[in-house]
Symmetry: C2
Subunit: 413 residues, 2 copies
Amino acid sequence: MDVRMTAQKAKTASRRIAVATTEQKNSVLVKMAELLKKKKKELVNANRKDREAGRKSGLSQNLLNRLVFDGKRIESRISSLLKIIDLPDPVGQVGELERRPNGLMVGRMRVPLGVILMIYEARPHVTVNAGAFALKSGNGIILKGGKEAVRCNAFLGNLWAEALSYAGLPEDAVQCISASHEEVTELLRLPEYIDLVIPRGGKGLIKSVVEQSIIPVIKHFEGICHVYVDDDADMSKARRIVLNSKLLMPEVCNAAETMLISEKRAGDLPKIIRALSKEGVEIRGCAKTRKISRSVKAATEEDWRTEYLDKVISVKVVDGLGEAIDHINTYGSGHTDTVVTENYTHANRFLREVDSGVVLVNASTMFDDGEELGMGAEIGISTDKLHARGPMGLKELTTYKFIVMGEDHIKEA
Amino acid sequence: MDVRMTAQKAKTASRRIAVATTEQKNSVLVKMAELLKKKKKELVNANRKDREAGRKSGLSQNLLNRLVFDGKRIESRISSLLKIIDLPDPVGQVGELERRPNGLMVGRMRVPLGVILMIYEARPHVTVNAGAFALKSGNGIILKGGKEAVRCNAFLGNLWAEALSYAGLPEDAVQCISASHEEVTELLRLPEYIDLVIPRGGKGLIKSVVEQSIIPVIKHFEGICHVYVDDDADMSKARRIVLNSKLLMPEVCNAAETMLISEKRAGDLPKIIRALSKEGVEIRGCAKTRKISRSVKAATEEDWRTEYLDKVISVKVVDGLGEAIDHINTYGSGHTDTVVTENYTHANRFLREVDSGVVLVNASTMFDDGEELGMGAEIGISTDKLHARGPMGLKELTTYKFIVMGEDHIKEA
């Protein structure tokens, strides 16, 4: 496979997508939704073959689950496409326009990044979702899925090509490829054609992409998320928020992994621990926690750095707000952290000083979600600080340029 | 030298700077300005020794010029510090605050990046300027200057330490280091302590930083800037803008390197060429240009990709706007490009479609400058697309986080 050619074609196509109207881009997404509906049976078949092959080759149950692309999941992709169609197009929006003292008009115009390379495992829904996000934000995209989903992704790639050509836009704007390690490495060294790399998957995949890429990378690393129960917490809110943050979906990145509680509230700890235990959550506590609730297992240093993604929570009693913030900034992953408090000053300090993508007060960590936060939908959550942080929507797949409107403006020496 | 320790200390110090008040940060800058004034003689001496050593070791005249830190340049640093003191502090500003249908208040708060690593050659003024930008935007910074400026930079490092400790802030927030290649490589692999790398210098330096870094890099590569003279150009504006873009400071990155002119305006070419020649500019033209002005040297393919930084300009006759935009997007460096036109539709299309950090209409490329564009001052110009593009001010050294204010918000299944 000539990956340089793939990248070059993506770049050429991206220039056409960058200047396409919102109507043109939406018509691709409408067509794609129609095609998903029409070809559902064939898609489900392709996916079935992928899964059979996966089972034979000994794929883990976890990966096999994520590989599923059945009727229900296809329907959910269709409704997600319709949602993205309704989102405002960020391209061409101008902000911060001002008239300078010398009469120059200066503003910042939102423009697409160019070409995005997405590298991911299993989930075929990414092939639909990331393609739609890239197109709507005016970008080309190269979708490098895992070999375990090769049939389903190839099928989806053909649907993208059909939808693009239906709308009169170049098919190369969305390319679904399978590529060897060496070919991926080559792609990661083509900044002249590719503007951004987004890896999604296990730590190993992400580390290797970061190691090799000379193109900027935005990654989602892990979610070690905290709930801090402050001195002045309303304890019934605290219980609800801890339970919801841990239990609504323990397997997702913004589920809570650690509860911190102020020493002044330690007396209320047994009640929360009982409520968690009742729901089948395993508790791993610090020494102080275990003095209060003797049945609790001991947490090790490693626990404070662990993303369980399961019905397990680590619990630590802290001096108060200052130690809680220090703990989060030291052991957390900069993802999502919430404080439960009725204290105005503590709430503000937590919001200011916790160095994470999403910081909340009196709300479950489960609200870290592009739709809940007003972005309509999200392509992912960034745990990086550069360019995009927290949930990423359409705007986060664009950049800006300065536009300067003069009237015969010459600079003096 | 234990560079890991350097980076770790920078990270710890950066947490203090991140929560410092604007007053505290400004008082460091005021003190630094005072110290520069008070210690001017010693600084000039340190710089003289650096330059003597440089001459002996055979440093190029170009580098020797950039190494100069005399009374005049120190004065200019002092006034630049005073300017930065007057700029608004971006940290803590909240934008896009909205009330969601479920009652959650959601906004984006500007916060510092953390620790910046600046790698640069010669110019000691960067040691003052970058330090001031980092501090004012709430960041820690590691300043890795070249060995040719080692005495002057060490001296400035001591002044920073004195200014910081005077304001009650940790000295490690600004560290001036000299480091071997191996030590720099080690720094570039410490994303746990360093959040952003900014290399400034020759292409070799920048390429090697990009190759080695697993930390995000924002770079200034090169400025291959264009002036396009459109069909409907006012030719007296065109002449003034071409001359100003090429000649005000031919050695800087936003000086024009190529003039494109519409075929319909080719008759006016000799006049512009004569004006440029009269100012001592060497012209390298395409075949059509040379048919019109026979004395012009032939441009090679290489010329369209060359940043002369000198009194040389390449000239190409194009079909019209479309070819001009294609040429710029193909051969340009995404830096600064301007169109001269009276045509409303052409102006808008040029602004929309030219994929560069700064795009202008009827204005000299020399206006690509942080101060001219309203940012007060700049730490550099980014030719990258991610995070910051074009001139970078204080805001570009920050990131955002989502802040979410709830009232017992629990997410439904």
